[in-house]
């Protein structure tokens, strides 16, 4: 309503209708295919550039019309109401930032030789207004439709969104600057690299998903050897990420620990099946073979361009805080953080899954066991962080499995991950 009023009451004298038509067209095109900015929800479209270019070239009224053209955006996933809202939102943002631009001393029209650098200050004002009005309107709608709480917005994603919008908004000046010389061609020259960049970002995120899916599938293939440990890697990966988020790791590190958790037992394949499935006591040699599996895992994944941290996490995930773990017998803070995190998730999943020699323990029993071994086996801080995360996010225990019928069923008779039922080694008793 407000937007319609703004358009209706302003004067249209001196507006270059060709410029307006071109910018409106651009706005429609870009609004039809917004770019995803890292996350699924925060999409920024290049129409911000068109909208702000129109502030300089056309003034408030023109900017409002260019903004309103977003109504025509061709998007299947958007209802008419949402489109109307978007159009009104952009129109209002365009109008208000146009007013700010002029109030700050900017002149409307094609920039000429003398426009720089004086134009920059009013333009900054216009960009900030444009982004602020857009965010505020979106915020109001989210609150009204009760998809967001009135208080307690999560500020970080909003900050990212605003940064992306400000950057895209700045490109509007780049579009406007050479417009006087080469007209609409300037929009093509500025926005072509941006469109290609957007394409590359999309390709990148598709490849990232494919990469994660491929790792998951290959880890599953490794697990099929043992009926009882299916899904273990995936759950350890999830658990490790839960701990990592709970202790406030940066997103890249959380991503890396996801992979490390997924791949932590890949070296188990190097342990002969007969050792994994042995029901009696292990000989020293067989125990040595099991102790070697983190190193085997490292050998396999070393060449992947991971963070070194992820590799250290895989190599040391069986170290214990008191220094009695393997392969190196590191203690306390000598153990890399990733390894300490993975070790907690690993043991917890092992205890709460069914094994051939016992039924799955309940989550409470698993938590109690973690608490009991905190300080000797596990890092107490990480155990508490995990328990807190379990309470807020929950945990999906694997379905109780019954081994398939038939005689050649492959099962593990001892689980090296299970702290509550340590491996039995012939000469030295329990480990």
């Amino acid at each position: 309503m407000l937007a319609a009023w703004a358009i209706g009451t302003s004067s249209f004298e001196g507006i270059d209708w060709t410029t307006l038509a071109v910018l409106a067209l651009l706005s429609v095109i870009f609004e039809s295919a917004p770019a995803l900015l890292n996350s699924k929800n925060a999409s920024v479209s290049l129409s911000y550039s068109a909208g702000l270019a129109s502030v300089v070239l056309l003034g408030p009224a023109g900017a409002a019309i260019v903004g309103a053209s977003a109504i025509l955006a061709w998007r299947r996933d958007m209802g008419l109401v949402k489109r109307l809202f978007n159009g009104a939102q952009f129109a209002l943002a365009g109008y208000l930032s146009g007013v700010v631009y002029i109030a700050a001393g900017g002149t409307t029209g094609k920039p000429s030789d003398g426009s720089f650098p004086g134009i920059i200050e009013p333009y900054l004002g216009a960009v900030v207004t444009y982004v602020a009005v857009n965010l505020a309107l979106i915020g109001v709608v989210l609150v009204l439709t009760k998809t967001a709480p009135v208080w307690g917005f999560r500020w970080r994603p909003i900050g990212n969104l605003a940064a992306g919008q400000l950057a895209y908004g700045m490109f509007g000046l780049l579009v406007a600057a050479p417009w006087g010389l080469i007209g609409p061609f300037s929009a093509v020259l500025v926005l072509l690299p941006m469109l290609l960049a957007r394409w590359a970002f999309e390709q990148t995120s598709a490849q990232q998903q494919a990469h994660a899916a491929t790792i998951a599938a290959l880890c599953q293939a490794v697990e099929t050897k043992d009926y009882y440990t299916r899904g273990h890697s995936e759950r350890v990966s999830r658990g490790s990420a839960m701990i990592a988020q709970a202790i406030g790791m940066r997103p890249e590190r959380v991503g890396a620990i996801r992979y490390a958790g997924m791949l932590h037992d890949v070296g188990k394949l190097g342990v002969p099946t007969k050792v994994l499935q042995k029901s009696g006591d292990l000989t020293e040699e067989e125990f040595a073979a099991i102790q070697l599996h983190p190193m085997r895992g490292l050998e396999i994944v070393r060449e992947i361009g991971f963070l070194d941290e992820a590799l250290a996490g895989i190599m040391h995930h069986h170290e214990k805080i008191d220094g009695t773990g393997y392969p190196m017998g590191l203690a306390g803070s000598e153990i890399p953080e990733f390894a300490r995190v993975i070790s907690v998730a690993d043991a917890f999943d092992s205890m709460t899954s069914t094994r051939s020699y016992r039924a799955a323990r309940s989550l409470e029993e698993g938590i109690a066991e973690l608490r009991r071994s905190a300080g000797t086996h596990f890092d107490p801080g990480l155990v508490e962080a995990f328990i807190a995360a379990l309470e807020s996010e929950g945990w999906t225990q694997p379905d109780p499995v019954a081994p398939p019928e038939g005689e050649d069923v492959e099962t593990t008779q001892q689980d090296h991950d299970d702290p509550s039922a340590p491996l039995r080694v012939a000469s030295e008793g329990v480990r």
């Binding site: 920039p111 690299p193 941006m194 970002f201 050897k225 992947i304």
Partner: protein, 428 residues
């Protein structure tokens, strides 16, 4: 869309100095670039540098761009920001109210100096640039400068739409020339057909060529309006492009590394001989090139070859020696099916799964269509490596080739076996 591994199949044990490993086309290109640079520097030295401030600004931008150079999939070295800067300087006609009257020779000199300065830090830490790529980064803007600068100084400069069209055409011409040269070099180095190499090169290079070209033109035009500030401001869009493509190249490389690394689980588990997956994939990719597959198809072939034995993970006991060629046909088919099942679970690599599924089928099947080319290639490469292994015994490899030839027409595709012969010859 792009490339597995680096160009040719590596030749272990024969390290040669860098300049000896260059092909004749590369040497020619580097020589041309070198001579042009020397001629330009001499010419500029004789007449003196015009408008040194602008020259230094552009030289600096090119140096920074060169410093930020990156490797795209297929081992293609690119420096989009440097290219944009060089093109911008070649197309520059006026800075603010001052006309820019520098000659094409000066444009080449500035580009070359910027490129060399930007390359120095890389060389200092031991990263030697790909000389042919560097030569192309100098020659392509040079072409634009020599074509455009004489035109730009004529009466054309008063007439904007025409001028901008000429700019665009010149830049496209330079892009095209660069792609053709790059394809010629690649075809020679990787033993690919020229047509295939050209297609690959166009697909791989066009986005960045277009971005650099657009930004170069934008810089040249906006220098009219904004003066030297334009140089800083208008590199922003291509900076975003650079970041985006660098990320893309990064994830592509990681993906390939992951598949290569994880393909070794079959070796660690004792299912196949050490190095089997990699040798099969190296052979298969070499054969695929020989058979005229595009980079896109080669990447799928490489993934499939690396994972072709993944199905063995589901076996209770490893096949003795891991050689699937010695297993019964039904067993081979079962392993292929299991492997394809694993790959299908990724939800993305459908083509790769299909290649792995059909790898054990004979070339002349009694019923149904022949398996896809990639499957036929893997079948031959796998059989060869199962029988020869890591051995470098020539007689043994010749005997195995002979045996595969004997089986061809029924079991193996004869043209694929011939491609194997060529690849094996080259590796000796």
């Amino acid at each position: 869309m792009s490339a597995p591994a680096s160009a040719p199949v590596s030749r272990p044990g024969r390290q040669r100095p860098a300049w000896q490993s260059l092909d004749s086309a590369q040497l020619l290109l580097i020589a041309v670039a070198g001579m042009l640079v020397i001629a330009s520097v001499t010419q500029v030295g004789a007449v003196g540098l015009k408008d040194s401030r602008t020259a230094i600004l552009f030289g600096g931008l090119i140096a920074v761009g060169e410093l930020l150079r990156m490797i795209m999939p297929g081992n293609r070295e690119v420096a989009p920001i440097a290219s944009a800067g060089a093109l911008g300087y070649a197309l520059l006609l006026r800075v603010g109210s001052e006309p820019a009257t520098h000659s094409a020779f000066q444009a080449v000199t500035v580009t070359a100096c910027g490129t060399l300065i930007g390359a120095l830090p890389h060389i200092a830490v031991g990263r030697i640039p790909a000389l042919d790529a560097m030569a192309r980064r100098i020659l392509s803007p040079a072409l634009v400068a020599f074509v455009f600068r004489p035109l730009g100084h004529s009466s054309l400069r008063q007439h904007w739409p025409l001028l901008i069209t000429v700019m665009a055409l010149t830049v496209m011409l330079a892009c095209l020339a660069e792609v053709v040269v790059a394809a010629t070099i690649r075809a020679e180095a990787a033993h690919t057909r020229f047509g295939i190499a050209l297609g690959d090169e166009i697909r791989a290079k066009m986005p960045l060529c277009a971005s650099s070209g657009a930004t170069g033109m934008l810089i040249a035009v906006s220098m009219f309006v904004m003066g030297p500030v334009a140089l800083l401001v208008f590199t922003a869009p291509i900076l975003v492009t650079q970041v985006a493509f660098r990320r893309f190249a990064g994830i592509r490389a990681t993906y390939l590394q992951t598949v290569r690394a994880l393909s070794r689980v079959t070796e660690v588990g004792g299912y196949v001989e050490t190095g089997h997956s990699r040798r099969v994939s190296a052979l298969a990719v070499g054969m695929g090139r020989e058979l005229g597959m595009t980079e896109e198809a080669l990447l799928e072939l490489e993934y499939a070859a690396l994972m072709h034995d993944i199905g063995q993970l589901s076996l209770r006991d490893p096949i003795p020696g891991g050689a699937t060629v010695l297993a019964s046909p039904s067993e081979q088919r079962r392993i292929a099916g299991l492997g394809a099942g694993v790959i299908t679970k990724t939800g993305v690599l459908h083509e790769v799964a299909e290649i792995v599924r059909r790898q054990s089928e004979p070339y002349r099947a009694a019923e149904g269509s022949a398996p896809p080319l990639a499957s036929r290639v893997i079948k031959v490469a796998n059989a060869y490596d199962d029988l020869v292994g890591a051995s470098s015994d020539r007689d043994r490899s010749a005997a195995v080739l002979e045996r595969l030839r004997g089986d061809s027409a029924a079991e193996y595709d004869p043209t694929v076996v011939e491609a194997l012969g060529h690849v094996v010859d080259r590796m000796r």
